[in-house]
Amino acid sequence: MQTEATPAQADVSELDLVKRCQAGDTEAFDELVTRYRTRVFSMIYNMVHNEQDAWDLAQDSFVKAWKSIKRFRGHPSFYTWIYRIVMNVTIDWLRKKHVKGAGTEFDDAIQLRVDPASKTVPKTEALPYEMMERDEIRARIEQAIAQLSPEQRAVVLMKELEDMQYHEIAEALGCSIGTVMSRLFYARKKLQTLLRDVYENI
């Protein structure tokens, strides 16, 4: 898992912040939000593929975290704990949307174009045709991810993007390590089938 500060510094100050939050200090919570808002938003966005929905779900997740912070006992890490809330909120939302949309959500009811107002943090300035190509690739990936179940999406994104360990993913999703591995197996198989031509031609 990536952290911005060194693990020791991050853990100590994070625990301190959590304790202050538990005493009702909203500024401490604000600090925790500042640390995790981008990663939380990014993870949710990669699951729902819509900026406004991702924003709202990230807000809901943090509000829930604030409401239940007194129940947090320091294990697992705050990051895994907040991810558990994020995943519950997002997976519930995806399930409800799937029910409302009568099964269309997992096919193509997603925004395929990237919002021009959003940033994807490019490493270097790309040429226009390269940007178009990247947009196209990204759209293909989003389409493929949209065909996975919410749980499979969560597992594959936490593993591949966040480099989380199986046990961390299991804690975040409230399931067994075996279930995580099994979901990862099927999610990868499906994505390999759908995206083979993309990764073979890069």
Binding site: T26, E51, S118, R138, I141, E160, L161
Partner: protein, 173 residues
């Protein structure tokens, strides 16, 4: 006991070792194909990491500001639970019952007033009865003759009922 899917995933992620690794690789029917698939899975992982990556929030400060407001509202509602109930649940069951009762009472009052205005004992503004007589009981026992007058329009209406035949002495001259 791990399932095949679990072993495969840990093998792809390079987390199988020792005897478990040797046993798993020995159980593969086509090791070359499995290795190719493992390489594909790694390419897929790399593709996802490179192309999805971190998506930045466009307005981080506004995000935090909005969240602070929501949390402040949450705290206020915890401090004043009565106020929260008052604002969040407008149509409670007692309120609905009270509104229903008032509506029924207003309806009943209006109905009584309207019926009172239509009392038949009051004289009509437009129609006045000026004659109510019986015809000769021998000729037409059930016949009646009534006359009404509309003052405003200067019209007189003759209303007969049960008249079997017009008596000879009633004929117009």
């Amino acid at each position: 006991m791990k399932t095949f899917e679990e072993k495969w995933t840990t093998w792809v992620d390079g987390q199988l070792s020792g005897r478990e690794l040797a046993e798993f690789e020995a159980s593969l029917p086509d090791k070359a194909a499995a290795e190719a698939e493992k390489a594909e899975a790694r390419k897929l992982g790399k593709l996802l990491k490179n192309e999805l990556g971190v998506r930045a929030l466009t307005n981080e400060e506004f995000f935090s500001h909005q969240l602070r407001e929501k949390i402040a509202q949450e705290q206020a509602s915890r401090r004043f639970p009565g106020r929260r109930t008052e604002t969040s649940t407008w149509w409670t069951i007692p309120r609905l019952l009270w509104t229903g009762t008032v509506s029924i009472a207003v309806f009943v009052i209006c109905t009584v007033l309207v019926m009172h205005e239509k009392n038949p004992s009051e004289e009509s503004q437009y129609l006045t009865q000026i004659l109510n007589a019986r015809v000769d009981p021998v000729v037409s026992p059930n016949a009646t003759v009534s006359m009404f007058e509309v003052k405003q329009d200067r019209v007189t209406v003759l209303w007969t009922e049960g008249l079997q035949s017009l008596p000879a002495d009633y004929a117009a001259k």
